[in-house]
């Protein structure tokens, strides 16, 4: 009988052994809801402070770290300058040479970095996460939600605008759901532009005229309009481009700096969107990436790594203040080198006034409106705008008899005014269909297929639905 009882006890014990863990183990393995210093998406957008931090985190990421250049900080200027006819290269680094020789490979690391610089976690992903987080939240004030949403939509439009112009069709990622995004194929450029326009249209409704914070560091209504004007120009919506540019020019907020030397200083009167250089402790002197990139800092040699091409240099007329102010010269005793100097502060010489990184400025808006007017056969109106720019550069007024003349003058003026700035020259050559004519004569070994960069090989591997651009092996 006792034996029986002990057997019963044994069963009881085993039952307990199996049942007990269910009660206690869960508590034993409880850890705090978040890792220290981290919060989850739902918490980010319930508090106005953290919601603003989530949006400004995008701008923190824009300028990258010390000396690094990335999609939103110098890489577009440098790469398209080399690929086009603005820059030459004096060094032996093979990746810069590959850009210059228009011999990029889908395996080129810089290409994959560029792609990542647009789509990465602190770029389009964060923008999409902010849009989703803001729209899901119900506790933030409507005005703050509108302002922040408008800002990030402007930023999204800015990224996609550059992406389509660098790569052609690209995956159009507008959410954070990786299960959808990981297999997205490339979308037609038309579709991408539709998204850009939709975002800018929304942003124009959501943003107000005053900047939300000090300076012109976060987008306002005119930032969206200025970008919209450019996008309409690229889409050949001339009237819309003119209207948008006029709204910016006539806003009374922006004025052309009378001295071209002052255009890129912090607090420039013509800045529409201007970011402070980032880089934390490694960049205490607040030097822009492009200042770091282009200004030769060597003590023993004055050879700048990247030089203004002869074509660009020759394009400037005598007396053009942009030549003397935006291009600097150095010499090693035998050779003379010209290098881009819109930004002059370098790591060894930061005595000049503070410079902020210009994303959008009024000067371009005049040229956008001029081109839109010219295309609508408003030659006089176009001349007005072009001459405004020329006068500021210390040049005499120009005149044009025909629309074609006018457009020719405009292209030259864009080449000079917007030189080595955000890829304008490279994009202009492509959108006007003149790239092969121009570069075919200027660069030996030019192939029309080089007008679009290759899709990075590692990305095609990870998303087999991505296709390669024409002219590249994979």
């Amino acid at each position: 009988m006792k034996n029986k009882q002990s057997t019963t006890n044994l069963y009881l014990a085993w039952t307990l052994a199996l049942v007990l863990p269910a009660f206690s183990c869960k508590k034993l393995i409880e850890i705090p809801a978040n890792a220290p210093g981290n919060i989850v998406t739902s918490q980010v957008f319930t508090d106005s402070g953290s919601a603003v931090a989530a949006v400004t985190g995008i701008y923190s990421g824009f300028m990258g770290s010390f000396g690094s250049f990335d999609f939103p900080s110098g890489a577009i200027t440098l790469y398209t300058g080399l690929s086009g006819d603005e820059l030459g290269y004096t060094g032996t680094g093979q990746s810069s040479q590959a850009f210059f020789q228009n011999q990029l490979l889908p395996t080129t690391q810089n290409i994959s970095d560029l792609w990542q610089g647009a789509y990465g976690s602190s770029r389009l992903y964060q923008i999409n996460a902010c849009i989703e987080g803001l729209s899901a939240n119900k506790t933030l004030s409507a005005s703050l939600k509108n302002q922040l949403t408008g800002e990030v939509k402007t930023a999204r439009a800015f990224f996609y605008f550059n992406l389509v112009n660098l790569f052609g069709p690209v995956p159009l990622v507008v959410s954070t759901d990786y299960q959808i995004n990981n297999t997205l194929p490339r979308s037609d450029t038309g579709l991408v532009y539709q998204q850009i326009v939709a975002d800018l249209t929304d942003a124009e409704k959501q943003l107000s005229a005053p900047y939300p914070s000090a300076g012109r560091e976060r987008p306002n209504l005119y930032t969206a309009l200025a970008l919209h004007a450019r996008v309409n120009l690229y889409r050949q919506r001339w009237a819309e481009a003119e209207a948008a540019a006029s709204k910016v020019i006539d806003a009374g907020v922006y004025h052309l700096e009378t001295d071209v030397a002052n255009v890129f200083f912090a607090g420039s009167a013509e800045a529409i969107w201007q970011l402070p250089p980032g880089g934390g402790v490694f960049n205490p002197n607040m030097v822009t990436t492009e200042g770091y990139l282009f200004v030769p800092d060597m003590i023993y040699t004055q050879v700048p790594p990247y030089v203004i091409s002869d074509h660009l240099y020759a394009a400037f007329g005598t007396g053009d203040e942009r030549l003397t102010n935006w291009i600097n010269t150095s010499t090693d005793g035998v050779h003379t080198y010209h290098y881009p100097a819109k930004y002059k502060r370098s790591y060894s010489n930061y005595s000049s006034p503070a410079e902020d990184y210009m994303v959008l400025r009024l000067g371009e808006q005049y040229l956008v409106r001029a081109e839109a007017r010219a295309e609508q056969n408003n030659i006089a109106g176009a001349l007005d705008d072009v001459n405004t720019i020329r006068e500021r550069a210390g040049l005499a007024d120009t005149a044009a008899a025909t629309q074609a003349d006018m457009l020719g003058i405009l292209m030259r003026e864009r080449q000079l005014e917007l030189s080595c700035e955000w890829g304008h020259r490279w994009y202009d050559l492509k959108r006007t269909g003149t790239i092969s004519t121009v570069l075919g004569t200027e660069k030996p070994g030019w192939k029309p297929s080089a007008a679009y960069y290759p899709i990075p090989l590692n990305q095609i591997k990870l998303n087999p639905r991505l296709t390669q651009n024409e002219g590249y092996t994979q």
């Binding site: 052994a17 603003v52 087999p464």
Partner: protein
């Protein structure tokens, strides 16, 4: 009521401790239930009149569980029994019931043997007078003082005897004063003890020499190979002591079947990669907060988990981080310093490597990749002894790549400049142009007759090695202790006086109460390690051989030569110091109490703390003055704190049941691990002298990183050994890990194993007497893995990376940290194994064969994603099923055994095969061009190299015939591309052969290690950098003269180039694809004389004079010789630019006082 009271008592305790106590309380309850069950069966209660004796026996059997063995014929002469027994011990009960009967009894283990009484002697009055009713007691232990339960104690020449209980104690009554006891226990030499009137004996049995009886440490216990069903291999302190290594993991190289060990660099303390039985998971990439492939085994040191995932201890770069390119060492921290360099190998008693399901399933979700148990040395009973040794020697780099001479190098460079179409720079006026001089200083400015062997300059030095260790130990049968102290100094072969210094201390205390019911074991390990080196493992041997002096007469860095900037000065990196200090505390207390014979309640309380402090200094004096314009002096301060608390209450029960022995173990685990990292970077110092203080920096950035991990589990094991012939073992575990999201935290794991020792079958003994041992075993079970960072199940945001961004308008922005996936869970590894263990000629030859297969499914990986999703991956389960299968063979032989001379050998070899069995949806997944069904997971697709074409460019086979400089290798030939499978880099087989000879006082052993494999060759290093041959860095001499120069050349290397120009674009393309082709793979097999060790024990006469107990002279060498067809560099590290593997030779003396 009781509950309320308990709550009151524990009100101030953290809830976790409270829960652990509840767990303990539960186990105690369980124990008490067992106690009541056991206590009734000890004694006999019986009353009967004239009961047939066999009926009486069967009643007793039912009550006690003791089996009765008798011959029916013997019982016929017995009378019926009339007894009245009330709770009488079994022995008394039998004595009473058999009083006056013609029967005697002997209890052996749980069996009662009934034999006819030898009537005549007993009836002799004289005999009765001699035999007093005395009692002999004693305890039987092994040489380590562990009680031996179930040893047989027989009075010689009689059938009288007993067996020892769980405490090793025995008690025999009615033994003659001058009788002799014969004590025997399987696996130990039997002993005879003359009583000589004494009545208490402590008997120590020496283990016999059969390797099958060597103790193996298994999960929560020990076993011997003879009865072990799991796949366990051990390395003992004797084998460790022979190897002059700093990191004990390196002592495992080639010694353990199925375990592949490879060092990542020859730097002292460099990380060591381990893998047991192949790669189980698909992704071996970083990104989950872990920096190594998470196929690392679980490490347990003295019962406390150590070094989770074998993660590096450094936070910043150090010389131990191998560089992948010659000058631009930007490699991430994928390797670094090993956590094991904080353990002194001399303090380790043994290492046991657990591989199969039977051995590892009890570790549940942590056992998927095998388990490595490390046991430190403990004190032994006996007179207090002091052991001291000092070893000293040096290390030197092996296989430093021989580079081109100045003449060869300049010829190659000129060739390159000419292929660029820039030949005009070689003579005036081009050569006088300052721009050209700046761009090609080696050709135009440096002295063309100068030659420096930079490899010798930087790597050719001798690194001192000193190791000293002292240990004091001793104690009584009840209490032992040990105290050790060690110091190890290992230098770097680089100039600069870098070194790794380690001080370690180990203290152990063991006590058992005199009745052996209470056992207390405390062991505490503490070590301090300081690894002082540079921030880079810069491969200076690639400098141009005509590079001018790098230091001036005052030891200052030279940056200018004839007005030309030198740019690269490797001595600059040597001035950038990396100082890593590690503090390691590992402590474990185990208390065990015997509630009843056979029933033990115990609990281990373990605590470990691993603290690393790293300080990297980048003084402005180490920078090229040119760069100083934009690089500031800076200092990095990194702190890591890893803390582990583990509580493991256990209840074990063993008893004889039928003709077998039953072992039951039940227990629980509570584990808490926290890992905190803080880094501070300071810049803006006013002087280099102030770099050591963060307070002197004018700008500081900080990062923090904190991980918490909690784990709780219940586990159990039931083993049954029937008559030493049939064995069965069941294990199970239910565990929960905080690394998983709500609802997915718990998993169940288990194993079943069975074995048959067929050599114990009488028919077998008769038929094949030369086979002394034979066992067939098999096991099947499941294990899991939770090696993943926590919080991956939610979308986390954190402060924007302080080192790459700055606050925006005074606010540190937030950035998303991960994609979230709420549904990932355990990967499950199903392991099956069959094995046979054989002993021949009284176990002089012991052979083992294991055939295993493990299938890891529901793979928990960082699921790769295209960056358009925002991240490189997401924590997820893959449907992929990866199979690792293999065969492991071990052979241990005693070839010669004479009194003066013995020769023993041991050999192991492992064959492995990895295969991706299934992957639903592979074609449309991001893995479509990475993994292939039926192939190893390490299989890659690449280009097929087809020599150098007529323009001097590398060409590759096109899938559809013909050649190209730009192969489309992403798509296989079947898909219309030019992709071919690259050689499989999994090791085909590997193993080791050890031979030990001893002649009188001399002992000599050598250990050969071999590895048959294909791997990346030195050309991979050269073409991975993006700096292709022709650039201003030296190349291996093997390449000289083999470059393409003109059409018609049968060259093995493409034309060198320095730039991309329209004329050499084909060469550039060809170079770009070279790294992705099969040209960078070749045979990397090797046989290495891993260890040679010699010792001489001083003769007794000398020892007596010197008043020492023992004195041994030793000489040992590690990595003495490598036989390989691998062209350049080391076939083990296979990285041209990492610090070469070192050869170490030391001599030493050890004393025992």
């Amino acid at each position: 009521m009781l509950c309320v009271k308990r709550k009151a008592i524990f009100l101030f305790m953290p809830s976790e401790i409270w829960l652990v106590m509840r767990l303990t309380a539960f186990l105690l309850t369980f124990a008490l239930l067992q106690v009541s069950a056991r206590s009734v069966s000890q004694n006999v209660t019986y009353s009967g009149k004239n009961v047939p004796i066999d009926q009486f026996f069967s009643a007793v059997r039912q009550q006690t569980g003791f089996a009765f063995f008798y011959n029916d014929q013997d019982l016929r002469s017995a009378r019926p029994v009339t007894v009245e027994l009330r709770n009488v011990p079994l022995e008394k009960a039998l004595e009473e019931s058999l009083a006056g009967q013609p029967l005697a009894f002997v209890i052996k283990g749980n069996t009662v043997f009934i034999t006819p009484k030898k009537m005549a002697p007993v009836l002799s009055p004289a005999a009765l007078a001699i035999e007093p009713p005395n009692e002999v007691r004693g305890q039987v232990t092994d040489s380590l003082g562990n009680p031996l339960a179930g040893a047989s104690v027989v009075v010689k020449g009689t059938r009288k005897g007993t067996s020892t209980d769980a405490a090793g104690s025995f008690r025999l009554s009615h033994v003659g004063e001058n009788a002799t006891l014969l004590i025997s226990f399987s696996g130990y030499f039997s002993r005879e003890i003359k009583l000589n009137g004494k009545d208490y004996f402590d008997i120590v049995l020496q283990r016999n020499n059969s390797p099958l009886d060597a103790v193996q440490v298994i999960a929560y216990g020990t076993n011997i190979q003879r009865y072990n069903l799991g796949s366990v291999s051990s390395l003992t302190s004797e084998e460790i002591a022979k190897q002059p290594v700093m990191d004990v993991l390196l002592a495992l190289e080639g010694r353990v079947p199925g375990l592949s060990v490879s060092s990542t660099s020859g730097a002292p303390g460099a990380a060591v990669n381990l893998q047991i039985r192949g790669q189980n998971t698909l992704s071996s990439s970083s990104g989950l907060g872990l920096t190594l492939p998470f196929d690392q085994p679980l490490f347990i040191v003295d019962g406390v988990p150590f070094a989770p995932q074998n993660r590096n201890t450094n936070l910043y770069r150090t010389m131990g981080t191998p560089s992948s390119t010659p000058f631009n060492d930007q490699s991430i921290l994928n390797a670094g310093l090993s956590p094991f360099s904080s353990i002194n190998p001399a303090d380790i008693e043994r290492i046991d490597v657990l591989r199969d399901a039977d051995a590892t399933s009890i570790y549940g979700s942590q056992g998927a990749n095998g388990v490595i148990l490390i046991t430190t040395k403990k004190g032994k009973p006996g007179a207090t002894r002091l052991d001291v040794y000092v070893k000293s020697g040096a290390s030197k780099a092996t296989r430093i790549p021989k580079m081109m001479t100045t003449q060869q190098y300049l010829a190659m460079r000129r060739n390159a400049v000419i292929s660029d179409g820039m030949g005009s720079i070689l003579s005036p006026p081009g050569s006088n142009d300052p721009y050209n001089q700046k761009s090609y200083p080696d050709l135009l400015v440096f002295d063309s007759t100068r030659y420096t062997d930079w490899g010798k300059e930087f790597l050719g030095g001798e690194a001192p090695f000193t190791d000293a260790h002292a240990s004091l130990s001793g104690g009584t049968q009840t209490t032992t202790f040990n105290l050790t102290g060690g110091y190890t100094h290992t230098g770097y072969s680089y100039p600069g006086g870098f070194a790794d210094n380690r001080v370690s201390a180990n203290a152990g205390f063991h006590h058992n109460s005199s009745d052996h019911r209470l056992v207390v074991d405390l062991s505490t390990y503490y070590s301090y390690d300081r690894n002082n080196s540079s921030t880079s493992s810069l491969s200076a041997f690639a400098l141009p051989p005509n590079q001018p002096d790098l230091l001036d007469g005052n030891g200052k860095l030279v940056w200018l030569y004839k007005g030309i900037d030198v740019v690269n000065n490797p001595f600059a990196y040597l001035k950038q110091s990396s100082d890593i200090q590690s503090y390691n505390l590992n402590s474990n207390l185990k208390i065990s109490y015997q509630l009843l014979p056979g029933l033990n309640l115990s609990s281990g309380f373990g605590y470990s703390k691993y603290n690393t402090r790293q300080y990297n200094a980048n003084p402005s004096s180490s920078y090229n003055p040119t760069a100083l314009a934009y690089i500031q002096s800076s200092a990095n301060f990194g702190n890591t704190d890893q803390e582990t608390l583990i509580i493991e209450p256990q209840l074990s029960y063993n008893r004889t049941l039928g003709r077998g022995k039953l072992d039951v173990l039940a227990g629980g685990t509570y584990k808490k691990n926290s890992n905190d990292q803080t880094t501070l970077t300071g810049t803006g110092y006013s002087s280099d002298d102030l770099l050591g203080s963060i307070a002197q920096a004018s700008a500081i950035t900080a990062t923090t990183h904190s991980l918490q991990y909690k784990y709780a589990a219940f586990f159990g094991r039931i083993g049954y050994n029937w008559s030493g012939k049939y064995l069965i073992n069941l294990t199970g575990r239910r565990d929960g890990s905080s690394n998983f999201g709500p609802g997915r935290q718990f998993g169940n794991f288990g194993s079943v194993a069975a074995g048959w020792i067929f050599s114990e079958e009488p028919f077998f003994k008769k038929a094949l007497p030369f086979i002394s041992f034979g066992k067939l075993r098999g096991s099947y079970g499941t294990t899991g893995t939770d090696g993943i960072a926590p919080y991956q199940y939610q979308a986390n945001w954190g402060p924007a990376n302080a080192s790459s961004t700055s606050p925006f308008q005074g606010v540190i922005g937030l950035q998303p940290l991960n994609l979230f996936n709420p549904v990932y869970s355990w990967a499950v590894n199903k392991k099956s194994e069959a094995g046979v263990d054989l002993g021949f000629l009284k176990d002089r030859i012991v052979a083992g064969l294991s055939i295993y297969q493990s299938r890891c499914g529901n793979q928990l990986v960082q699921y790769q994603l295209p960056i358009q999703t925002g991240f490189f991956g997401v924590a997820a389960n893959l449907p992929a099923l990866v199979q690792n299968s293999g065969i492991e063979i071990t052979l241990t032989t005693t070839n010669i055994r004479t009194p003066d001379f013995t020769w023993t050998s041991s050999f192991n070899i492992s064959f492995q095969k990895n295969k991706l069995l299934a992957f639903p949806g592979l074609e449309t997944s991001p893995y479509a061009s990475t993994y292939f069904i039926g192939k190893s997971v390490n299989t890659m697709v690449g280009a097929k190299y087809a020599g150098v074409d007529s323009t001097g460019a590398y060409r590759y086979a096109k899938g559809k015939g013909g050649y190209t400089n730009r192969p489309n290798f992403l798509n296989s030939v079947e898909q219309g591309g030019d992709g071919y499978f690259l050689p499989n880099t999994d090791p085909k087989y590997f193993g080791g052969l050890n031979n030990t000879f001893s002649y009188k006082n001399f002992n000599l052993s050598f250990f050969l290690r071999f590895n048959k494999q294909t791997g990346q060759n030195y050309r991979a290093g050269i073409y991975s950098s993006g700096q292709y041959p022709g650039a201003m860095s030296n190349l291996p001499a093997a390449m000289a003269g083999h470059f393409w120069q003109k059409p018609g050349d049968q060259a093995s290397f493409a034309r060198p180039i320095t730039a991309i120009t329209p004329t050499n674009i084909g060469v550039y393309f060809g170079n770009s694809y070279y790294y992705f082709s099969d040209a960078v793979y070749s045979d990397a097999s090797y046989i290495r004389l891993q260890n040679l060790s010699f010792s001489y024990t001083m003769p007794d006469s000398w020892l007596r004079k010197a008043r020492v107990k023992n004195c041994v002279f030793t000489m040992s060498a590690q990595n003495l010789l490598t036989i390989t067809g691998y062209e350049l560099g080391d076939p083990e590290t296979r990285n041209l630019y990492s610090i070469p593997v070192q050869r170490t030779i030391v001599a030493g003396l050890s004393f025992t006082f």
